[in-house]
């Protein structure tokens, strides 16, 4: 059995055990977390829209995404979206124009937002849609990835992702192109 063979070879060849280092937090160097988040996400192709309430988000979507198929898992916006998509075959989401999902929190240092299967509704949703909108409270921004994992802790999820901006590639002569396979645009709504 290869399993036993591999484990035996590791046991034989591994070096003497060294301890795990303490993971430091390194503190917070950012005076304004929301501003740091905004500036990073903007430089990597995302857009940040600061809003006061759900009404503003609603208005933004109504102005910018006219005629698009919209899906959401957010109850405050449920009337804007189709119902019944949650149970459908994920392939049928291919024509989704906009997915609006809640992010659990955002990370200031890299412009990412943590979203798990529970908020996605379907795992394919944030990837297959032409555009993605993530909603995060501006009070829910942590400085760094160490804070992010402290916050996630031992949470039980089937799938989760840090998402930072629209899908992109620079494989052709290092020219940045948005919309490689996933969303061509991404907007983060920060609710103050």
């Amino acid at each position: 059995m290869s399993r036993e063979k591999i484990l035996a070879a590791v046991a034989k060849n591994k070096p003497t055990s060294t301890p795990l280092p303490q993971i430091q937090n390194f503190g917070n160097q950012y005076a304004d977390l929301a501003e740091q988040f905004r500036s990073v996400l903007t430089t990597i192709g995302g857009e940040v829209v600061r809003v006061k309430d759900w009404e503003e988000i609603r208005t933004y979507i109504q102005t910018h995404f006219v005629g698009f198929r919209i899906i959401t898992t957010i109850s405050e916006l449920s009337d804007m979206a189709q119902n019944s998509w949650l149970q459908s075959d994920p392939h049928s989401l291919n024509n989704v124009g906009l997915a609006v999902l809640q992010g659990q929190f955002a990370v200031a240092e890299n412009g990412s937002m943590w979203v798990t299967e529970a908020e996605m509704g379907q795992r394919a949703a944030p990837f297959i849609a032409e555009s993605l909108a993530l909603v995060v409270k501006s009070s829910e921004i942590v400085p760094k990835m160490h804070d992010a994992y402290a916050r996630i802790g031992s949470a039980d999820y089937g799938f989760g992702a840090f998402i930072a901006g629209p899908s992109k590639t620079a494989d052709i002569e290092q020219s940045l192109v948005l919309g490689a396979h996933g969303p061509k645009s991404m907007v983060a709504f920060l609710i103050d």
Partner: protein, 454 residues
């Protein structure tokens, strides 16, 4: 027969403008990495921490592998073990056969390149579509990737235009990166929607939780995995990390080191198959346990495949990834390859100036240039490379002797090239003027040269 690095490099250098373009593109990526790294005050501490975590992993790898397997199984993931490339390929084929599937999508995985999975599956009647744009380009051109992060860094957009015109029907003469990318998007979208099995690589696997993390910018791993009935993830056994919290350290380092981005667009944590989906994970040895037993070289197993050592390497930049005739090219590839086959890869540790720039940028602090030097000793002593020394000199000559390179100087990289390889002197080598100071090499090039040539 494989062409040795020196000869391949000489060929690459025949096209002077192209070589310069390749060199400058990669140096630009290296500069982006610098800016990203320098914006993090604790960068050096992070590198130390990452290196120490990886050392702990290597020293307890068997325990962590068993812990990972137990937790992954609890999560509903089927775990397979493969002693070598062939077994890895067989496992995948058997899963495909059980599914009755002959067409699949695959996102970037250097491991499957190392195992030559695509040709194996092709021989067995399975069509693999690589979905990372760069990998798709080289696949259409029937080439292997030339860089682990930037697979088609050696291709010009006009050439990609010709390739896409032929294969994807883009307008003749179209060389616009946006149009070409979106043509590939349309074409690959159809594949995502119709293929029932998706293969992905793995960046990190967490022993404590049984989850694995895949990082992409394009979202291709996710498009494949979330639409497929069966997801197969393949990883080398060294990709294990002990705890979820350790991802905080590695995800801060990976993208900044690779391309200068603060994080990849997607850092996807796969813990359980989705309802109705099958999820397989293949743990592959393929020489890794042997390398673990080689004291001088085991640190190479800490590699997180960021590509920074390639982008900074004066030899890689001016010889191209294919000259290394190995799935992983550049400085780290030159340490990994002789472990797999000393005879075939004896030339690679000589494809270096030992300038130490690779070790300076490595996010997990692998002593890359020292290991290259060590391999030279091992290969020469064991008689694997009777021509080794001359090969080394020839490689340097091919890459560094073109006088027109220096005439165009003025760039830091060029100035440094002028000093290489005969000066490994901190005050004269601009690469050492960075914040991350290397450990001094055990033996300078001059000493080595005297001992081995004199």
């Amino acid at each position: 027969m494989t062409i040795n690095h020196a000869t391949a490099a000489e060929k690459f250098n025949k096209d002077f403008d192209r070589t310069t373009w390749h060199d400058e593109t990669l140096w630009w990526v290296r500069q982006k990495r610098d800016r990203a790294a320098f914006s993090i005050p604790e960068w050096e501490k992070l590198r130390d921490t990452a290196s120490q975590i990886k050392h702990n992993v290597l020293s307890n790898l068997d325990t962590y592998l068993v812990e990972f397997e137990k937790n992954a199984q609890k999560n509903g993931i089927t775990v397979h073990w493969a002693a070598d490339a062939h077994e890895h390929n067989e496992i995948i084929l058997s899963i495909l056969k059980k599914q009755g599937v002959t067409q699949i999508v695959k996102s970037k995985s250097m491991l499957t390149e190392e195992c030559h999975l695509n040709p194996y599956l092709a021989e067995n009647g399975v069509e693999v579509v690589d979905t990372d744009l760069g990998e798709r380009i080289v696949q259409l051109a029937d080439e292997p990737p030339s860089h682990i992060v930037l697979p088609c860094i050696h291709w010009k957009k006009e050439e990609i235009g010709v390739l896409f015109h032929k294969h994807l029907g883009t307008p003749e003469g179209c060389a616009d990166p946006t149009l070409l990318t979106h043509a590939a998007r349309e074409n690959l979208r159809e594949k995502f929607l119709t293929r029932r099995v998706a293969i992905t690589g793995v960046n990190f696997a967490v022993a404590e939780t049984g989850e694995f993390v895949v990082c992409t910018n394009e979202g291709n791993a996710d498009m494949g995995a979330h639409l497929a009935d069966v997801h197969i993830a393949c990883m080398g056994i060294e990709k294990i990390i002990p705890q979820r919290a350790h991802l905080g350290v590695f995800l801060r380092l990976l993208a900044r080191s690779a391309t200068g981005q603060p994080i990849t667009t997607y850092s996807s944590h796969f813990a359980k198959p989705r309802a109705g989906q099958e999820m397989h994970l293949v743990l592959v040895d393929n020489g890794r346990t042997t390398q673990l037993g080689r004291e001088e070289f085991r640190n190479s197993l800490k590699c997180i495949r960021c590509g920074a050592c390639m982008n900074t390497c004066p030899v890689y930049r001016r010889s191209g990834g294919h000259s290394y005739h190995n799935a992983v090219a550049g400085p780290i590839g030159s340490i990994l390859a002789p472990n797999l086959d000393m005879t075939k890869n004896a030339d690679l540790p000589f494809a270096s100036t030992l300038c130490g720039s690779c070790s300076n940028v490595c996010p997990v602090k692998i002593n890359i240039h020292e290991q290259l030097y060590e391999w030279r000793q091992v290969l020469t002593k064991s008689g694997h490379s009777p021509t080794a020394k001359t090969l080394g000199m020839k490689a340097m000559a091919a890459v560094l002797s073109n006088p027109s390179v220096y005439r165009l100087s003025g760039k830091m990289g060029r100035l440094a090239l002028a000093n290489v390889p005969f000066v490994v002197n901190n005050s004269l080598n601009p690469w050492y003027k960075q914040r991350e100071m290397p450990e001094p090499p055990k033996e300078s090039f001059g000493e080595w040269y005297k001992k081995n040539r004199g």
